[in-house]
Structures are given as C-alpha cells and as structure tokens.
Amino acid sequence: MPRFLVRRVLGALVILLIISAVTFWLFYAVPRDPATMSCGKNCTPDMLAQIRHNLGIDHPIPVQYWEWLKGVFVGRDYAGFGHCNAPCLGYSFANRQPVLGTILDRLPLTLSLAFGSAVVFLVFGIGTGMMAAVKQGKWQDKVASSASLVASSMQIYFVGYLAMYLLVAKLDILDNPSYTPLTDDPVGWASGLMLPWLVLSLIWTANYTRMTRSQLVETLSEDYVRTARAKGLSRRNVFFRFAWRGAMGPIVTIFGIDLATLIGGAIITESVFSLQGVGRLALSSVDKSDLPMLLGVTVLSAGAIVFFNIIVDAVYALIDPRIRLA
C-alpha cells in the first residue's frame, strides 16, 4: 500500500504539472490581452505597459509559467504586492485578490454542496437501485426504472428554477438558497442548501439508481452468488456479503470521479441558485480572462479528480480482495 500511494502521488504531480502547463498555453493561445481589459477608459500604451508589469505579464510565456510554478513551491515576489508565500497561486487580474485565498474562501460552500448532495444521491440512488434489482421485473422495478429515466433526462437549469418558484416563492416550504458556514449555524447551513442538494441530486440519483440496478442484476446472476444461495445462506446474507460487494466496484469508481467533478464546481447549480462557489469562480475567471484565477481553479479541479482517483483505487482493494495494488 505505501509503495502504491507514493507511486500514485508522484504520478498525480506529473499530471497536475501537465494540466497547468496546457492551461497556461491555452490561455495565451486565445487573442485576449488581460492588460487591455484592466486598462481604464483613456488607455495609453504607457499605461498598458505599466499594467503588464504590475500583473507580471511583461515576460515571455515560458518565463511567466516558470515564475508561477516557482511561486507554488517557494513563493515569489510581485511588483505591486511584495512577497507572496508558498503555495502562491498569484493574484487575480480582475480584482488583485490572492488566488489561493479566494479559492479557499469559496471552497467550503462547494464542499458543502458536493458532499451534501452526494449523501442524498448515494442514499436514494443506491437504495432505489438495490430495491429495483431485488424486485427485478416487478412493479417496483418498473416504476424505479421509468422514474430514473425521466429524472436523468432533466436539466438542472430547468428543474432548479421550477423548484425555486414552487418550493420557495409559491409554497414557501424551503428557504431561499444561501450559504451559512456549518460551524456558525448547522441548521442554517442545512436549510440554506437543502434546495440545491435536492435539485443537484435529482439527476445523479437517477443515474446511480440505474447503475446500481444494472450492476446488482448482473452480480446476482453470477455463479458464486448462485452457489451461495444453493448452500442455503439467507437471502440477506447472499445479497450483502456476496452480490453487494461485487456490484459496488464500478459504482465506487464512478462516485470518485463524480465527487471530484462536483468539487471542481457545480457551475450550473451554483448559477441557478446564486451560490458563490468554485464553479461560479471558474466561470467568472473565464469571462474576465483572469489567468491566475483560472489556473488556480483548474489545478484545484484536476487535483480533486486525481486525489479521488487514488482514494477510489485504494477503496477498490478493500472491497474486492482479488485486486492487488502492487
């Protein structure tokens, strides 16, 4: 296990390095000049030169990338801001705020949204999928399958606004979506995020229902499960000791990727519910051609995916002893 983890972490660092370099290059491949966007109404060439110097973009691109990379590991000095301690992700082109600080400020909301909705869609998705698999062919299976098909066809921007109108404006059942830190007010935290959790998890619940059902139906027809049944084990025993573990592998894999994607930012959900998470930050940094912020969010999202992939691989071995890590 330790050797596995070290190998994977080193691999992850290489991947993040490549992603950051590609993002850097892609940004400059598009003909946008952050200095011009920052420059005031009566812009002059001298002012543009000054802005480029202030932003640190008056060097060749490889030098700019090297400086950024150096800042991540050992910190760096900025013309207008002094020394930025490691890990330094730079300052926003748009509002001159520290990138790392801004991302960390938005992260709790994104984590709350991701983990909260994950709990909902895992519980309901896997639970419904299990029921559908056990009751295969019966009305429970048909209802669950049809409902999940309809739900997975929906879009958050449609369901979200509809839910806001019905549940908040008209029926006043739920609060307007908002974020209160969990440590400040747990009840406020939950009530403010309840609607986004329900909407976000609606589509994912449908997907996990279908996936769980499909995996369990396949596993339940495996020879070893039939053997266990033939040996007289109870249905519950057969299901949870044998079938369940065999079916969970792919689901765990997908869940790792899905959770990492959510942590990278549920852009549409955050936009629909006016939540200021990492997703909205990514969107605005693209809109404003804010390279440091864009880089920071990209590296965070990629890092989340890589990290959860490592976790998933480790968990996989726990679920399925046939998998060897070394």
Partner: protein, 586 residues
Amino acid sequence: MSFSRRNFLIATGVAAAGTTVLSACGGSGGGSSSNDKVPSVSGAKTMNIPVGTKADSTGPAPEVPGAVKGGTIYSLDQFDMDHLDPAQIYVSTEGAITRPILRGLTGYKIDDKGGCTLIGDVATDAGTMKDGGKTWSFTIKDGIKWEDGADLSMDDVRHTFERLFASFVTEGPRYVQQWLVGGDKYKGPYSGKSLDSIEIDGKTITFHLTEARADFNYTLGMPGYGLVPKKHDTKEQYDKRPFALGPYKIGDRKIGKSLTYVRNEHWDPKTDAMRNAYPDKYLFQFGYETVASTDRYIADKGNDQYTMSIFNEVAPERTQQVLTNATLKKRVLTQVDTVTYYWPINMTRIKDVKVRQAINWAWPHQQLQTIRGGKATSELASTILSPVTPGYEHFDLYGVETKPGGDPAKAKALLKEAGKVGQKLVIAYQQSDNAVKQAVAIKNALEAAGFKVVNKQVDKTTFYTQIGKIDNGYDLFAAGWSPDWPNGYSVFFPCWSGKNIGDGRSNYAQLNDPTVNKAIDQASTIADTKAANKAWGAIDKQIMELAAVVPDYHSIRNWMYGSKVGNVVYDAGNTCVALCKLYVKK
C-alpha cells in the same frame, strides 16, 4: 465609454426633469400595456445641471418626507465591485456603491423634483475659477472627520490628487493627471516629491491646469476623485478597504459575496448637503443573476422586502410580466439613460459621405428595437447625445422618426449617385444571442439598399481591443458612449476629436475633420454653460451631417425593489439608485 461591464460608467448623466423622471410610484391602473407608460427619451426634458451656491453646499441635506431612521437595506446584485479605491473607480456601480462612504471636493445634490445641482461636497462651494479656467481653487469645510475621528487635513486633500500619478493607479479617470501642470513627468508622492501645480494655502487648495477647463469642477464630481487619507493610504491594498468620510464605513467585506456598511459615528450631517443617513446598515449581496433577483422582488418575502439593486435591472425575461402588472410596476424605478449606443463608420475605409449617409438611411432601427425587447427597454436615437444630456439638440437627418424601418430606396439612390452600388461592408459584432440576431437584420436591410454585407463575429472579451485598432479591417461596429459629467466635452473630445485617433483610443470612426476638431477645441473653452451646450449641440449635428456614425438607441433602465424600501429615486450623478436617499419603511 465602451460597453463592457467594466466600462459601464454613466457617471454624470443628467436626470430628466421632474415631470419626466418616472418612478414606480403612482403607476397606472391594471391592464395597461408596458408601452403605454414607458418613459420616452425624446419626450424627456433636458435639464441643465447648474452650479450651486455656497448655501446649496451647506449641510445638512434636506430631510426626505416620511423617512425614519433605522433598519437595514439589502441589495441583490450580480457582480461584486472590483475596485473601492476611488482612484481606480470608473464603473458607475462602483461609484454608486461608494457614495455613502467616500466624499470628494464637489458632488451632485439631488432635489425632491428629480433635479440636480453641482455643489461643494467637502468644499464650501463648487470652486472658484480664474485665468479663464486654467486655475481652480476650493476651500475645505471645517469639521469633516475620517472614520477614526481624525480631521480631514489639507495634506490628505493634496495626497489624494498626487497619488493619482502612482504606477498602480491604472483604471480610474485620467483627466486630472492629463491637465495638471507637470503631470506628464510626475510619478506620484511615494518617493517624497510633491506636484507644484497643486498649491495649499490655509484651507484652500488650488490647481493649475495646462489648458482652460471651464468645467473642471464637474470633472472633480466624479467618484474617481474621492478623498484618501495620507496616513491610511495602503496603496494597492486600499482597493480592498478604503477609509470613510461619508455617513457610513465598511463594517465587513467578503470579496465576491457581500459588503456591509455601518454608521460612521464621526460624520457630521451639518457638513454634508448631499447625503441623508437613514438606515443603520447596508448589506450588499453579490452573485445573483438578474432572473433570480427579479423573481425574489416579485415574491417580495422576508428580507427581500427591504432590498434593492444597484446593478441588476428587471430581467428581460420578466420585463413584460413586471411592467404590465400595476402592483409590481409600482416597485420599479424607470429611468432613461444618458448613454447612446451607436455604430461608428470607419472613415478611413468608407470615405464617400454619400455612402455613409446611405448606411444611415437604410438602417433598420425599428427591427433592432424589437430584437432588443421593444420600446420598454430602448428608444431610437438620431443624435450622438442622449436627449437627457445638456447640449442635446433635436434633429433627425436620416428619417429615424419618419421611417424607423429604414428607407432602402433613398439609400440606393445615394449609392447610385456615388457610383457605389454593391459597396462591400464588413461589419463586426460581438458574440451574443442578441448581437447575432441584430447582425442578420442589419445585413438584410443594407443589402436591400444595395450594399454587400460581410458579417464578422468577434469574441466579446476582445471586441473593443479589436475595433480600437487603427487597421481593424472593419467598416462598421457597435459601440456606445456616455458622458463622464453632464456636458458634451466628455462625449465629443474622446470619441470624435482627431487628437484621439490611435490604437486603444475611443475615436473608433477615426474622424479627423479639421472643422469638427476646431469646434471641439473651441467649445471646450466656453465658460458660460448655455453657450457651451449650444456649441456641443451644433457639433453633434456637424458630425451627423458627415454621417460618421449611425446612432442606434438610448437605453431605458428598470430597477425593481422591495415593498419596504422608501424613497427610491435616481442619482443623476452616478446614474443609479440614490443610496443616500433610501430609508426602511416600518
């Protein structure tokens, strides 16, 4: 100014006269269509913003009838403010949000009839002009204190203007830097050097300018010239946490999420003729799309009853619903804008005036208005100046009012005279749903008139960079401008003077007509407001006769608010809701 969000400064527009500023109060009965009660820009009366007297500049500000102290005003807006350092403020929303905390030498006093007067803010009056406008002096009032109780000193006032030359100040207005004698070489106060053209004598500050500026006191009314304390000047960091002189100070700030103002206990209302301070607190909240904020205003529940918006207007998707509902319309502040959206014609490529006139005749104004959402959101333009800007003169050289759908026959006849039937036009437009639809309508109309049109879609984040290049390769492109203060100088000089042709400059049409240049230079020196306005109106007509541009439309703005927000009126100085006039209804 160009129209990206960052440049959405409509800093010193002129409010229409009281009878034509339509607020939500006293709305029509039910069943009327939105078109019946839409304020007409062309029907709005242009009001000159006069210079007030010393008495006008003396506080306190007149009480708002029925207003009570207390409560919290909330806001729902899409974007946070990128800058709070006054030296970096050029966007109207940043100017508006800082009015309760920042003060300058001069400012605009709103009266209860919707009118506006230029007065002294921290100055005892709106300034004394000498040498035909090359020297300006302002005397500072007594008793003005910062949020920490320290007196506003003359060092602070000097420092405010000297720091404008610092290298980190790149986004605010540049007028003072360009006009102060020695400003071309001065690098700011941080190396210990002062600027000699700023003189202090007792409580009087005097500015020596390189050119006569009869309207310099108006220029200083811009939010970009808010005062900064020398002792608490944190340079680049000041952008995050400016020091307050106004009735409020910053209580809390969560970048991108919220900004809270609490009372500044050291503010003396007797020194302030502009601001009231009724609410105990303001809580500005960011990140709300216009549809989301409009829906919340419609629902009007909980704290949303005490909420307004600085930036967010009624969402286009809800305009019909809101403006045709008498109850909802009562909670909408509708105001005509000072901005004119237009399409400059590249004079270096389209050199024949008859061709440019043909473009004007063929233009499908009415179709474009429909695409934008109809008469509720915009009014057709036939001039460069908005009808609510001083200097505006009504004229319609190309049939905008008589043939709003365009006159292709007339256009074709002009092309024939010029021998240019089939003239190719390359038109640049931004990537957006509306822009694409408008491009199609324009192409159809111009081709019906005998042009051959090539549409070029340009990425919106680089649009103004590209059309701002001398060799941009385009014949027409969408742009727009609004005055930085209420006269024609800040419209015509940056956009139509031959001195402003160059990469990144705003004379997109690259108009360089000697008679126009001379007229602009002369109008800039006229001290008498009425005479100056007459001159600007004449320049407008002169440029339109040259057909250097196709005026498109003036915006109509609709701000919705909660039912318990009182006295929602328009701040002509910042072209937004007047924050310092609001109160919380009990």
